[in-house]
C-alpha cells in the first residue's frame, strides 16, 4: 500500500513537471493525462473508487482529448513554442513555491496530520455509497451542476460561431 502511494506520488510529480515544461503542446497534454491517471490511482488508494473512474473518464479521457483537438487544430508557428517567460519570473516562482510548500508542511505538522493514517475501514466511495449523499443532501447542487453543463455547452457553441445570426 505504501509502495503504491509513493509510486503514484512520484508519477504525479514527475509527469506534472514534464507537462509544464514541454515545448510541444501535444506532449504537454499527454503528460498531463498521465498525471491525471496517477491521481486516479491515488483516489483508489483513498477508497474513492467512483471518483477514480470519473477522473479517468472525464479528465484523462474527455478534457485532455478536447485539449488535444484544440492544440492540433491551431497550427502553431515556431515562435509560439516557448518554455519560460524569463529568468526573473522563474526565480520568483521557485521562491514562492518554496515558501508555500514550507507553510503547508508546517501547518500540516501543527495540525497533527502526519500522525493520522489512511483509514481503510472508512466508508467506501463506491457508486451506491456516493449516490446516497449526492441525491439526498446535495441534490440542489447536483441539479445546478446539470444546468451549468447545459449553459457551458450552449456558451461554447455560441462563442465559436462565425457569424451571429
Amino acid at each position: 500500500m505504501t509502495f503504491f502511494f509513493w509510486t503514484f506520488a512520484a508519477i504525479i510529480v514527475t509527469s506534472g513537471l514534464l507537462a509544464i515544461t514541454r515545448r510541444n503542446g501535444v506532449a504537454a497534454a499527454l503528460w498531463a493525462a498521465v498525471c491525471f491517471t496517477a491521481i486516479a490511482g491515488e483516489f483508489v488508494l483513498m477508497r474513492a473508487y467512483f471518483l477514480a473512474v470519473v477522473e479517468v473518464l472525464v479528465y484523462a479521457g474527455a478534457i485532455m482529448v478536447l485539449f488535444l483537438f484544440v492544440i492540433m487544430l491551431i497550427n502553431l508557428r515556431k515562435e509560439d513554442l516557448d518554455v519560460l517567460t524569463g529568468p526573473r519570473l522563474h526565480i520568483a516562482g521557485v521562491l514562492v513555491a518554496i515558501g508555500f510548500m514550507s507553510a503547508l508542511v508546517w501547518t500540516c505538522r501543527k495540525a497533527g496530520l502526519f500522525s493520522v493514517y489512511m483509514n481503510q475501514d472508512a466508508i467506501g466511495g463506491e457508486t451506491a455509497n456516493l449516490a446516497k449523499p449526492l441525491f439526498a443532501e446535495y441534490l440542489l447542487p447536483f441539479e445546478i451542476a446539470s444546468f451549468l453543463l447545459l449553459s457551458a455547452i450552449v456558451g461554447s457553441v455560441l462563442i465559436t460561431k462565425r457569424r451571429l445570426r
Binding site: G16, L104, F114
Partner: protein, 99 residues
Amino acid sequence: MSVGHVITLAGLLFTIGMLGVLSRRNILIILLSVELMLNAGALAFVAFANMHGNLDGQVMVFFTITVAAAEVAVGLAVVIALFRVKETVDTDRVQLLRK
C-alpha cells in the same frame, strides 16, 4: 502514508501548476496548468474525506470535476475565437485592452 503526506503531495502538484501558469506564454499550456491545480484541490478533498470518514469531500470532488469540464469547454472556445481574430496563442501578443 498519512493524510499529511497526501496534503503535501497535493500542495506540490498545486505548486507545479502555479509555476506552469506563471512561466508559460502559451495560453493552452496555461489552461492545462490550471487543470493541474484543480486536480491538486481534488486530491486534498479526497484525503480529508477519508480522514473524516464521510463522503462529503468526494461529493465536492464530483462537482469540482464537473465545473472543471465546463470551464475547459468554455475556455477553449474563447481561445479558438481569439485565435480567429489574432492568429496567435501567445499571451504576450494579445494586448488589445492596452492603451
